[in-house]
Symmetry: C2
Subunit: 347 residues, 2 copies
């Protein structure tokens, strides 16, 4: 089983997943090319994955063809679903057993499908699957936080080209999430307002809306003021909501629309770049024995997406500070289209 | 001039360096191959760089051949050395002018030189150059922190193959440095001891020394307990010291020895991988008007080095949590040699 270890200085948890099939000597040779033969995520190859956890099917039997979205356990999971969560320490060195969930959301039966080209209904189905799996995993008392992420192309960490996302449930709240939650909480305590809502209000009310890329009835796509990477974007629900899983069907469709807009623009204007997408939603707040139950209504969920265009190098790894060679306002001008902003009184 | 912006949620400074010569449309095409013709860092091509700031020369004139180590301004600096440091804010959005220093330390006149193959005296000269440039830049009241880093090979962010390091002086203390300083300070306040010294003591006194890779009279190379990346290492002075620039000549030679050991082992055992190296030393503590002068004797400087063997993907970017597929103890066993550990009473 893998192990969770906490850095004794910067207090960051790391997953030591030595069982994912790597021996030290594996790194000596260049990585093997993906095996030829069938893609395990393609319709008809259901037997090539572990048995499915969830699927959108029209009456067909599990683990057979005839599905639209399918969720399976990751074959090389970073964390194990079975096992007790135990904690131990020795001097300054803290550990936990590596329990968690690691699932793959196969987004389409079709190997060559791609989010911008799908029907909005199908994209909404994928988003609904993210929400259902998150909700289901939250019932497990061991898990404190769930993250859904999408790695597109090998440069962004994808090992298979068939469209898919992944989900990892963690027995702790990770560092970045904790920072964001703390920021939202402190601000709320001081102001009785959501920090994200205030920022959205500020961005939307500026005469030029210079960092707004796209708006529909429910969502806004922003080019973040202090973006770390060129052309990175954040998608926020316009109406305050701390939890992704609470979206109704109409809101899911509106998110599908926003997602298809930005991924389509990446494809058109940046030569189909590799990208990472991550879902930043509230942690698991279901009360459980021995845990402080944190209410996180002051949080505001969002998606972060960025194309992999620059290299992260020594400066960034050594400081936590990033160099972005494209001004966020220039990125917004480049990514938006004639009709992507709503008419306002200022225009 | 570039601009510093602070993320309003996670409070992380970012350098928006839109003048480094990138337009949004540049990202549409794949990056250009390095220009053919002369390498600007080679001896004889001194006119291809901006005029030198410092060089180790045996009586030869500046910007001519006949040097061992040469420091020049970066031709595409992330921050500008000229200009006033001004701060401004609008709502939640904080900015500073992008003043700072960005220098290149050309480590050898020879294009094909490499740290493991150099004489130890020459490596010590490079380390001495790091220290001299850091000391000099600290006299500038605008600068709060200096980081030296080395990107080896394109995959690690190097754009030229000629052996070189870089140095950036910042007008703020970056996030990672602040976390480490805070950790050291809190621990010292509670215990009157250095947290790093205590960790080294714990690692060195374990019967198996399972995370110790190498030791000489002055330095230890550790495989960190919660390493984020496979085969990453940290090099610590055994004797408490908060500041890299305080090393005497004998200590510089001992660090050269440790550095050559580990970079040589990377080369031999991991097929000459790309790597990043960063120097983590105390910030600029020279008192200046309008600043809280922070005394950082409780810090313990160190080097961090890691080969670029795995991809950082959506999970890591979305959580700040890393998945390391090689146990730090296995990495230590793999990297150390018969004679790299001192005999102890336990063996």
């Amino acid at each position: 089983m893998s192990e969770l270890r906490k850095d004794p200085i910067v207090e960051r948890w790391v997953i030591i997943a030595a069982e994912r099939g790597h021996r030290p000597s594996d790194f000596k040779a260049p990585p093997e090319p993906p095996q030829s033969g069938g893609c395990p995520f393609c319709e008809g190859n259901e037997a090539m994955t572990p048995p499915e956890i969830y699927a959108v099917r029209d009456g067909t039997a599990p683990n057979t063809p005839g599905w639209q979205v399918r969720v399976v356990p990751n074959k090389f999971p970073a964390l194990a679903i079975e096992g007790e969560l135990t904690r131990s320490g020795f001097g300054r060195l803290d550990r936990m057993t590596g329990v968690g969930a690691h699932e793959v959301i196969i987004e389409s039966p079709n190997h060559f499908d791609d989010i911008p080209a799908m029907s909005s209904d199908h994209v909404a189905l994928i988003l609904d699957t993210y929400a259902r799996r998150t909700k289901d995993l939250r019932r497990d008392e061991r898990f404190r936080h769930t993250i859904v992420f999408r790695n597109y192309k090998g440069e962004a960490g994808a090992s298979l080209t068939h469209p898919h996302s992944q989900l990892i449930a963690l027995p702790f709240i990770p560092e970045l999430t904790r920072q964001k939650l703390n920021s939202a909480r402190e601000y709320y305590h001081r102001k009785e307002r959501c920090i994200f809502c205030d920022l959205l209000e500020q961005e939307m009310s500026m005469p030029e809306q210079e960092r707004v890329i796209y708006c529909n009835d429910c969502f806004v796509i922003l080019s973040p003021f202090a973006a770390r990477f060129p052309f990175s974007v954040e998608i926020y629900p316009l109406k305050h909501s701390h939890d992704f899983v609470e979206m109704d069907a109409a809101t899911q469709l509106a998110l599908a629309d926003a997602l298809q807009f930005i991924l389509g623009r990446y494809k058109e204007t940046l030569s189909d770049p590799a990208y990472n997408m991550t879902l930043q939603t509230a942690p698991n707040t279901i009360p459980r024995p021995g845990h402080w139950s944190s209410i996180t209504y002051d949080y505001h969920w969002h998606l972060e997406i960025f194309p992999r265009l620059t290299k992260v190098a020594g400066f960034e790894w050594g400081t936590g500070c990033y160099i972005n060679p494209v001004a966020p306002e220039a990125a917004a001008r480049y990514l938006r289209t004639e009709s992507s902003l709503p008419r306002t009184d200022n225009q």
